[in-house]
Every structure is written in C-alpha cells, then in structure tokens.
Symmetry: C2
Subunit: 438 residues, 2 copies
C-alpha cells in the first residue's frame, strides 16, 4: 500500500550518481513494498546534464543548477555526489537549513567540516547519511553506530584506499617498482592522472578521520592526522619484509584509543603476513577493528566503484525514507558526538613501535659499525640485521629490524646516518604493527 | 539529561546473561549520555538464581519465575537467554502480547518458529531483536536489514559454527583424526559433552535458516534445510584436498538465490585454499556474501563467547531503547517479511556441482576400471584421479575429483561402488564450491 511519495534530489550525475539512479530504478517495486512509500528522483543537477546517458530518466527534471534542488520544497532528501569542498559544503548546509535530509559520499568535506555539518543537521533535526564515504559498500558506518554501539572501539586498522592496495599488490606479485605499477594503474583507470590524493595517503586520512570521529565521539579532522604515502616503497622492501621478516606492507589508516590520548595516523605499515589483512589483495578494502566486548572483527569488500558505492548511498536513502514515512526522521539513533573530555591526539614523534630500516651503503668495511654506533646513541636496539650481498648500482642494501623505539629517535638517527659518506641514497623506515587482538 | 528509565527484564543468567549484566553495568554512563535515558535491569529470572555470582546486582530483583518478568507492567524490554524451544517460545510470545519488546539469541527457536514470533511482534507493534542469534558479535543482522537493504543478496557462504571450525582447523594443523580432536575440544570446553548440535550441522542450519529468511524475505525453517555434519571427514581428506587439489574443507551454511528457486544447505564443503574464507581458523566465524550491487563482502569475528554475544544483545537493547525514548518503537526499519511469491527450496538431489570422492580399495588390478565404469554409467566424468601408494590397513585410498555432476547420480554411483567386493569401507563424497563472485 503505497500512499506517500518521497522526493529525492540528486546533485552530481557521475559514476556513483549513475549507480544510484540505476539501483533506485531497478529496485523500485521492492523498495516501495518494503517502505510503504514511493521513492522518486524528482530532479538531478549536473553541470554536464546535456550529455547523453543510457539511463531511465522518465519524469526526472534535469538541471544545471543545484539551487533548484536545495530550494525545492517538495524534495525531502538531497543526495550530494559532486565531491570536493565548495560548492558541496554550501549545498549541504543550505539543504539542511532548508529542512532537507542529506546523504553524501564526500569524505574530503566531512573530514574537514565534520563539526559544522553534523551540528547543523542536529540543530535542524535533519538526518545526514554518509555510509558511502568510507569503504564503499561495506556497511561499516552503520555497524559502528548501531551494531557495535555497546563497544568501546579500542583500535581500527584499515586498508581503505583501493588504489594504493592495488599498487602494493602488483608490486609484490610482479616484482615491479612503484613508478612502473602506478603508470600501469593509470593506464587501466585504477589510478587518477593526478594520483597524489591516493598515493600520498590523503584520501585514507579523510576516511580515517571519519572512522576516528565515529569511534571516539569527538570530531577529528584530516589536518589532525599524520599522513604518509607509499611512493618511497620499493619492490625490494616488499621482498625483504616478506622473505626475511614474515611481514607484508599495506597502507593503513590507524586509530587507537590509549590511556588519556588517541593515536591516529596513516602510513605504509608492515604487518604479519599470516594476518588476514595481509591477504587483502588488489582494489579491495578491509577494516580490522577491536571492540572491548566484541573482540576482533574484519569487514571486507569493494571500497569504490559505481554500484558498491551507490549501494551504500541508497541504503542511507532508504533508512531516512523509512524515518520520514514513520514521521521520526532526525529522531532515531544518532552519531554520539557529545563526549565531555576531548582526548589529545598523540604526536607521531611520540610513537613507540618496531621499525624496518633500509639503507643503501657502499660495500666497504666499517659501515655497519658506524650505522649501529649512531643507532646505539639514540637507544635503538636491533632485532635483526641483513646485509644483502647483491650490489645495486655500486651500493649494497642493509636491512634492519629494530626493537621498540621512539619515532623521534628513529628520525634523528636516520638523518644522521644519511649524512654518512658511505650512505648512497636517502634511507627508508617503515613502522611495524603486530595487530594484536586488544 | 536523563529523565526516563527504561526497565529491562532478563530471563536466563548463564554465560551470555552475565556478559549482558556486565556490559550494561560498565557502560551505564556512556549509554545514558547517548540515549538520554537510563537502562535499568529491573528483574533477572533464573532457575538457579541462588548461586553466588560475582556481579553488580544492586537494586536488581532476582527471581526463579520468568512470569514475574513477562507480566511486570514496568518492564519494557525482555531479554530471553535461556535457549531451547519451551518455555522460551511461550515466554517470548507472552511478552510480545503483553506489549513488551523482546531481544533474543535463540537461533533454534527462531529457526523453527520464525513466522509465529515475527508475525506476533508485527501485530503487537513490538520489536524483536536477534542480532546475537547468528555469528555472535558480528553485526551481520543489522547489516543485512539496514546497510545492505539496497541489495538482492545473491549468495551467502558462512562459517557459522565455531566448534566445527576449531575441530577442522586442529585436524589440519595437527594431522589428527576427528574423534581425537573432538575429545580434546570437549576436554578444553570448546565442544559440548553432547556435541551433536554442533558437529552434525544442526546449529549451522538454525543460523542459516535465519540468514536465508532475512536475505530472501520468506520464512525458511531448519526443517527445510539439508544438513550434514563433519564427523566423516578424516585428516587424510584434509591433506589430499590441500596437497592435490588446492582446496580446504570448511563446514558451510549456504544460501543461493537462483532463477525461481532457492538453494539452502549445510555441509562440509571444499573451497579454494587461496580464498579468504579458507584462512578463517579456530573458533572464528566468517560470512562471505555477494550482493547484486555491493558485490562480494566478508564479515569476520568471534561467533560465540560471553562478551561477543552479549555485545550483540546489548546493541539490540540500545537500539530498541532509542526507539522507546523517541516513542517510535515498532515503527522503524523492519525485517521485510512480505514477499508475494514463495520460492521453492531446491532438493539436495538436484544439486549440480563438482565432487571430491575418497574410496578405500583393495590394492589389486582392475579396481579403477570397475569404479570408473560405474561413474561413467551415471554420467560422472573425472577431472582428476589420485591412487595413493600408501596402504592403510590393507587398503589403498583412491581419491577423485569429478567435473560438475548431479548429486542424485553421485549418491547412486557411490552406493553401487560401495557394494563392490574390492571396496573396504564406506566411501565419502564432499561437495566443492568455487565461491565465484556472483
């Protein structure tokens, strides 16, 4: 019995927007039956709306002006899929202030303007859905806010950028270096022509800002988060880590709730190769988290793509539509952003962990003595040293694993080592996480 | 600002009940702050309530009579954790009819009395939460009903019984046979003294009945589901599967939506060893599912235990409490049990898949000719035959992998083969699933 029509306005008809139109069109009858209301896309705004598309757009008004959507009194749910900061931010805020509920996949915007957007939604009694902003179609946001609400989330370790995971996987499988695999990925459309957002860890930082905020209840922004990308990782590092130390390199977003402070960071990380996260290959995403009651959990799936991301957008739309139908929108279970004491985010220099070090040295006596002398002065003790025989362009790789050390000390020691005349190129250090279940 | 108290009644203070009391006690302040209401356990019923327990039960009334809970007009949420069919069924139905919302972890009861319980809840405008009934603390039920609501769930393959997965893992790692590992598991408390519920696939069938019902929208009961346990699997089967065919044996619950019919079954299954489900070890649970929009997903975590299961129970309680607080309980997103056409569940004899066959034959000429003659007559063609040299108690294992064949034919062929005088013990066949992503 369908007696109500809920009008939707869609801003941005790119890949994901097309997926949303397709899913809502294909599932029209199913959704109506479940909802007891009809979901109708009333208007779609896109700057390039004239382009021909193979879409069922009967009865949909097309426009180049998003304002026509956010000011339309008949539209109850606005879907924002244009991405970026402006005009997306203004569209969302205006839509909320005009009494509309909003669904967005815009992680960059949320990671920078969390507080403004969530607090505006709260003031207006409006809902804001953002399941699609992290890990595509994996129902991670709803799990954090609903299914795991009885838990303190002790830690999160996420592979949340498919491009980086694809590149690292290919480097491992094909023994190729970063630049070559990146170029191939760009040719295949798995990486953008300007790849910085992905490979420098920026996109992962946007997403981890969202997960950190949801799991701690305080607004954490991308600017608060240490970010380091994968461009300095070589296939030799992947090989040494695997063969010598039983470790795999993944770009991880990390959130840990420590005593009185938070540890939030994005960087390439070596993890035990027998851990399930190590087995996550190609463009797939996976998030490993530990709750104080539930223990360790893993969520795995496609983190991007037309239909997986649209699946999450439509789930948010259906959830909000249910609440509209039942006249309770804005009053159901909410993101709990109301912690009393804000915990400080630990500076990366304060981190203590194990490190992988890779030095490129001249093949001559006394090098190891000099290097280990410097490490010793910074209280860095070694768990393992491997002097590789093979000379690469006149230099020999010297690979080490440290015991737990302080990041500030590692940084200073490496700077000092890099000034030695026997060191041929900038040294690399990679943090290690053992992913213990607590 | 806490201005409302929501009273809870707990029936059954066993392991999970104790976990629920502990979580609600520890998280009292956090929950109150998020909810704007206080959750209070008013009464606990248990037949053995006199037993001393190390629990914070200040202000809680203890009773041996569940009726005191389900007839208490102040109690709004009843948690049923006694398990089994009766009196659990009567308690739940009476509680619903008395206007209470119910949370339960009782998969056996749901798998048999789904329709009665869900329809009673619907009539009464009451909520029924059962996140804890499948896969412990993994937020699978909420993901199916909310996060994935834009998807048709094409297939589900679940490792949903921790005891069986523990036994199969130990058999593989230690090269021991089923009986010995089962006895060890019983000694360690990982298996019940009467293990039939777990090892015969009955518990997995209860859980897959719930997942099948939720994902198809029609009530599917345990009696509708083909069930086969792991007791005939030997460590040699695990070894041959691994070394010869690259396959791992897992007890899987399976749901597939086919054209016009459903495929729902529980049995030991060989799956590719490079698939992530193969890496799920010990008591862990994992569910691999494929949605038509979202593609493949995996959920992984602890499927049992005091706190993981209690985490799911408390999540349901908090969700319902939110709705009570907002005066919308019973009106939010519901299990969509209202499909028009009921699809038939395919009989197991109609299954077509690849099979692993293990025969124990006399070491004499002509055996393979006789066996393959019978298989040929039933139109079963072989992909691989391995005649193991090693004689075990005067018999030689003959191991085969078939191409796709019909289960009815495999069954008849094996019966006929087992009547041959050169066959020394009952043959075993194991179904193979390739877990393709569609």
């Amino acid at each position: 019995m369908v007696n109500k029509v809920i009008n939707i306005g869609l801003i941005g008809l790119g890949t994901v927007g097309t997926g949303v139109v397709n899913i809502l069109s294909e599932k029209r009858d199913l959704v109506s039956a479940q909802l007891g209301a009809e979901l109708r896309i009333k208007k779609i705004a896109d700057l390039n709306i004239a382009g021909s598309r193979d879409l069922d757009l009967k009865g949909v008004q097309l426009t180049t002006s998003a304002k026509e959507i956010i000011s339309d009194p008949e539209i109850e749910i606005v879907i924002e899929l244009i991405g970026g900061y402006e005009p997306a931010r203004s569209f969302i805020l205006t839509a909320l202030r005009n009494g509309k509920h909003v669904v967005t996949a815009n992680k960059a915007l949320l990671a920078r303007h969390w507080d403004e957007i969530i607090l505006t939604a709260k003031e207006q009694g409006a809902e804001i859905g953002f399941e699609a902003s992290v890990a595509g179609g994996i129902p991670l946001i709803s799990s954090l806010t609903l299914g795991l609400c009885a838990n303190k989330i002790l830690s999160i370790y996420g592979i949340i950028n498919g491009t980086c995971n694809y590149i690292l996987t290919k480097m491992a499988e094909e023994g190729e270096d970063f630049e070559k695999v990146l170029a191939e990925a760009q040719a295949k459309g798995f990486a953008e022509s300007d790849p910085a957002l992905d490979i420098e860890g920026i996109d992962s930082a946007h997403k981890i800002a969202i997960l950190a905020s949801l799991s701690t209840g305080q607004f954490i922004k991308d600017a608060d988060i240490y970010q380091e990308g994968i461009s300095r990782i070589t296939h030799r590092d992947i090989l040494y880590a695997d063969e010598e130390f039983g470790l795999t390199i993944k770009l991880l977003g990390i959130v840990r709730q420590l005593d009185g402070e938070l540890d939030v960071r994005v960087h390439p990380t070596m993890i035990p190769k027998e851990h399930l996260l190590s087995q996550v290959k190609g463009v797939f995403n996976a998030v490993y988290l530990v709750g104080d009651s539930v223990g360790p959990l893993i969520f795995y799936g496609q983190g991007a793509g037309e239909l997986p991301t649209a699946s999450a957008v439509v789930a948010d739309v259906i959830g909000i539509a249910h609440n509209i139908k039942n006249q309770v929108a804005g009053r159901v279970l909410k993101v709990p952003f109301d912690v009393k004491e804000r915990k400080k985010i630990k500076d990366i220099t304060e981190l203590r962990t194990e490190y992988y070090l890779r030095l490129s040295t001249l093949d001559q006596p006394g090098v190891l003595a000099k290097v280990s002398g410097i490490l010793g002065r910074y209280k860095i003790s070694l768990a393992s040293v491997i002097q590789k025989e093979r000379s690469i362009k006149g230099a020999v790789p010297l690979v080490m694993l440290t015991h737990h050390a302080k990041e500030a000390n590692i940084k200073k020691a490496v700077q000092e080592i890099d000034r030695l005349s026997c060191i041929k190129e900038k040294s690399l250090f990679v943090r290690i996480e053992r992913l213990e279940e607590k």
